[in-house]
Symmetry: C2
Subunit: 588 residues, 2 copies
């Protein structure tokens, strides 16, 4: 068999990974840093070169990231994503922002220049989902209340990671990034995520359950992997990272009834490629270079551990958790891992960072990973010490703060109304996002398939008219839905906002005006939005006006039909999300 090189390298890596996992497991040390160290030992920079082909290593790493993100997605279903509370999201955004800033300042302090400093910030900002969930599992804490908080923050960070990855790519390619370009990027990303999620939720769980009913593990596995890699391919093709596609595919497939079976089948693959991923990271490291940068690495590791744990703990306490829970959550988040490597690799391959950033990132991650179980175990001790050291008045103040936050939570009638209000706003936002997506797709088709249209003898104007009409027609059910939700919102606001004691006799009149005003405003905003979005594909004014007229007519005639179509799609989506939860599938 020719080209034995790849298989020899792989065999060596698997052999070493196998030995490491047993050894570190036996010594009760975390296994992931063990993989990295094993990689360093057999790497091309160590005397007695064993693995030497950089291409193989890159291939392996990429595959590892895709499968890792897919299984992370499978763990964090869309349902769980929705359960991440707004306050938790806020703490995460603050924490990630703070660590970005700390990393940036540290980088400047070391005199590494702006771009290196920026990447260092990103490397320091993101906790390791793999390490944190493993630490929880290995210490038997997976079912504790604070573990839910940790998982929630990790999910929120995963979402932020994707934003960061996209922004950093743009910065690395263009040198700097304009605010508008950044917003456009984040906007596109948001559209991709929302549209991908909704279309995915409508199709994929049903598809997976259908395949699962064929009752063949092989078929289920291969088709699920097809979905995972297909989504990665789509994401890469649209200019996002393969990791994003795989993560979204996992989160969507997790809503299938047969998701536990899928998890069960994919886990061995994840474990194999995770081992390869971490060994491959070690392979890239030159120990000599590592020794050269040992002090910055130690400093940065301390900054990560102290910064993350303090900010996360404080944030948790701030949003109303007790001291012990806050400390545990914070200490569990105090490390960096796989995303840091992805970001460092990104920086290196795009030529945006200096060579020494990668080994430093690995060294910092190694230190944090090794410290991780001890940090978590020290939480109770810390809480105990804190209870003794903190002076009594401050402790009283903190306790009363907790009580006060507890009382802030909305209750009874107000809570129900607030929930309705929030749901209506969400529905409107999602429908508008879908309309925007339709027009963006239309513009994309217009820009990339001009030749194809000309082949069919369609002039530029006719092409524009056709695409615009299609986008508008497909948007109709969504637009009608937005109008109806806005109407409901108007009524709700009128009921809530205009109390009789203020408006007196005019109450009813003002309420009616408000109830009409809101959907009307929404319609006007939508009209502007559609014409702005369609600017690239806007047909000549006459055609556009007549098309709008036709659509309005169509909307009135087919109103009930469109409402029914939309209701059916929404019901299908809700059915997927609200069905009884599949048996809890924990990471083993």
């Amino acid at each position: 068999m020719h080209d034995i090189g790849f298989i020899r390298d792989l065999a060596l890596v698997m052999l070493v990974a196998g030995a490491t996992t047993v050894l570190f497991q036996r010594l009760r040390l975390p296994v992931l840093p063990g993989y990295i160290l094993a990689g360093v030992v057999i790497g091309p920079h160590t005397p007695g070169v064993l693995v030497a082909d950089p291409r193989t290593i890159a291939d392996i790493s990429n595959l590892g990231v895709v499968l890792l993100m897919f299984t992370l997605g499978l763990e964090f279903s869309v349902r769980k994503l929705r359960q991440v509370g707004g306050s938790l999201l806020l703490v995460t955004v603050f924490e990630v922002g703070f660590m970005l800033w700390v990393g940036y300042q540290l980088g400047l302090l070391f005199g590494w220049g702006g771009r290196n400093a920026l990447f260092l910030g990103a490397i320091m900002a993101l906790s390791s989902t793999m390490v944190a969930t493993r630490t929880l599992t290995e210490n038997g804490l997976r079912q504790w209340p604070f573990a839910r908080l940790v998982v929630g923050m990790l999910v929120a960070e995963d979402m932020l990671t994707i934003v960061l990855l996209t922004l950093l790519t743009a910065i690395a390619i263009s040198g700097t990034v304009q605010t508008i370009a950044a917003f456009s990027l984040v906007g596109h990303l948001g559209l991709f995520v929302v549209a991908g999620m909704i279309v995915g939720l409508l199709l994929l769980p049903r598809l997976v359950d259908y395949v699962a009913r064929l009752e063949r593990d092989e078929t289920l596995l291969v088709s699920t992997l097809g979905i995972c890699f297909g989504a990665s391919l789509l994401a890469a093709w649209l200019g996002f990272s393969v990791a994003l596609g795989a993560f979204l595919a996992g989160a969507v497939v997790a809503e299938a009834r047969s998701a536990p079976r899928v998890v069960h089948l994919v886990e061995p693959l994840r474990d194999m490629f995770a081992a390869l991923f971490f060994v491959a990271i070690g392979l890239k490291i030159d120990p000599a270079q590592l020794a050269h940068h040992v002090w910055p690495a130690v400093l940065i590791a301390l900054a990560v551990m102290i910064g993350k744990s303090v900010v996360c703990s404080a944030g948790m306490f701030f949003i109303g958790h007790d001291v012990r829970t806050s400390l545990r959550t914070g200490l569990c988040m105090a490390q960096i891992g796989e995303f840091s490597f992805v970001i460092a690799t990104l920086g290196l391959t795009l030529g945006a960072v200096s060579d020494f950033i990668y080994p430093i990132a690995v060294a910092v991650a190694l230190i944090c990973m090794l410290a991780s179980p001890y940090l978590l175990r020290s939480a109770d001790l810390l809480a105990h010490v804190a209870a003794r050291v903190v002076p009594r008045p401050l402790r009283l103040l903190l306790t009363s703060y907790s009580g006060w936050v507890e009382n802030l939570r909305p209750v009874d009638e107000n809570a129900v109304l607030a929930a309705m209000f929030r749901r209506l706003l969400w529905h409107i936002a999602i429908n508008i996002a879908l309309v925007v997506t339709l027009f963006v797709i239309g513009a994309y088709i217009n820009a990339h398939n001009a030749a194809w249209f000309e082949h069919w003898g369609l002039s530029r104007d006719m092409r524009h008219s056709l695409i615009w009409a299609c986008a508008l027609f497909l948007s109709l059910p969504l637009l009608i839905a937005v109008y109806r939700k806005a109407e409901a919102l108007g009524m709700l606001l009128a009921e809530l906002g205009i109390r009789e004691r203020f408006a007196g006799a005019y109450t009813q009149a003002i309420r009616q005006i408000l109830a009409k005003l809101i959907p009307l405003t929404t319609l006007i905003v939508l009209a502007f939005l559609v014409s702005a979005l369609g600017s690239a594909i806007l047909p000549p004014r006459g055609v556009a006006l007549s098309l709008v007229g036709a659509c309005v007519l169509l909307a009135i005639v087919l109103w009930r039909g469109f409402v029914k179509v939309h209701a059916r799609l929404q019901a299908a989506l809700r059915e997927t999300l609200d069905k009884p939860s599949p048996a809890d599938h924990k990471q083993s």
Copy 2:
């Protein structure tokens, strides 16, 4: 992320494989040919090039073969290998030899030249384990009595495959192969298999069970993969195929108590890489070239299907199975598959065969695979028709033949003695093989590490003396064991062979002479063998003689110790093999 090419190709392959598996499963067609066809469709030779990197494809294929062979090994444990009866082995050898001859003749008939013809023979000779076991499983026949026969023949073929692969490599490299070289090759192979099996059986099942007790799926999986790839690496390093190493590792690990758990964990990997393996085969195919060779392919496919089913059925009937069972076994073996691709790839990469052999092999395999389920289903019909068509006298003859074969089986006392006899011979053979292995290893160390010895200031003679002494010393327990078994064999033979009615009064004397003669002869043969084997590392005569004298002295002094060591090793081996069978782990 750079180098997105590999992941894109892989994503495309997985996507197509996923769609194919669902579609073919739904249409109730066998999935494996579906993978190949899907590969042809997305291959670089089809308009609308999708997958284009040949290196990626080769990498994927190699990984697929290793994991495939490992899981095949896991299915066919050493225990099952021992259960393959001598008669079944004989039928398989005859069948493979016959198909080799048919293929060779066909190749000459087509005017393809000797070497192409030889490879064609090898391609046609080996049934597909994947296809046959799948056909059995998919038709719910896995537990039927004839399925045991099929699995037995497949195991025997797998062993022959390894011999064929090694021989073909030698032929392809050297052009021709001398009889002596072939024997040397097969001898080396046999030594590797036997020594690998025994050392493996002593170490690996215990290691795997130890890891399994850590109760972490990830650790068990990664370390098992380490064993699998490690064995492949060792085999490749010694000049055998990676497939052989993986197969042996699987067969040995299958003896661990936790083998069912390992199977469960490795199955998803096998399924993923099997899909990749078969799609990758399709990728290499140019449909245009396929069309060019359609008639040879059809002819060869017919020859495979008719030849294999007729010869296997006849062989099965000949060793005493009824017509229906024989037909079913024969028809289940009537296809070629993964090994044919491995052989064709081998021929291509070594430059030993023409380009058109590979697509023909694939076309033949496709036809046979698609026909496979229908062939098996036709078995009962065929048996029915045969019962009607065959004239009555012939039928009577056949029935009486079956009865006669049934009566041939040894019974009662004779059977017990025969079993003892066979066991003693086996023990002697295995111990001699181990002695030979020790000396071969010694010669290998002598040939490859001369510089290292010189570094330590050892002259050539001293090096020889040292290695020879080590080999001899390590062989002592084995040699003593051989002597003791030979003694037992002598007594058994004396008891059995010299009956009182022939020898009369001399019976006891002749028996005693025979009982002493046999171990003595064995010792002399062993002495010759050791000095012949050690010829490369034989020290000067004086040293050699004194070493032998020292060893004889040592043997006499430490006789009981050596016997104990050997008994302990043998007990460990027997314990591994004879422990209660782990829960039956079938292919799902």
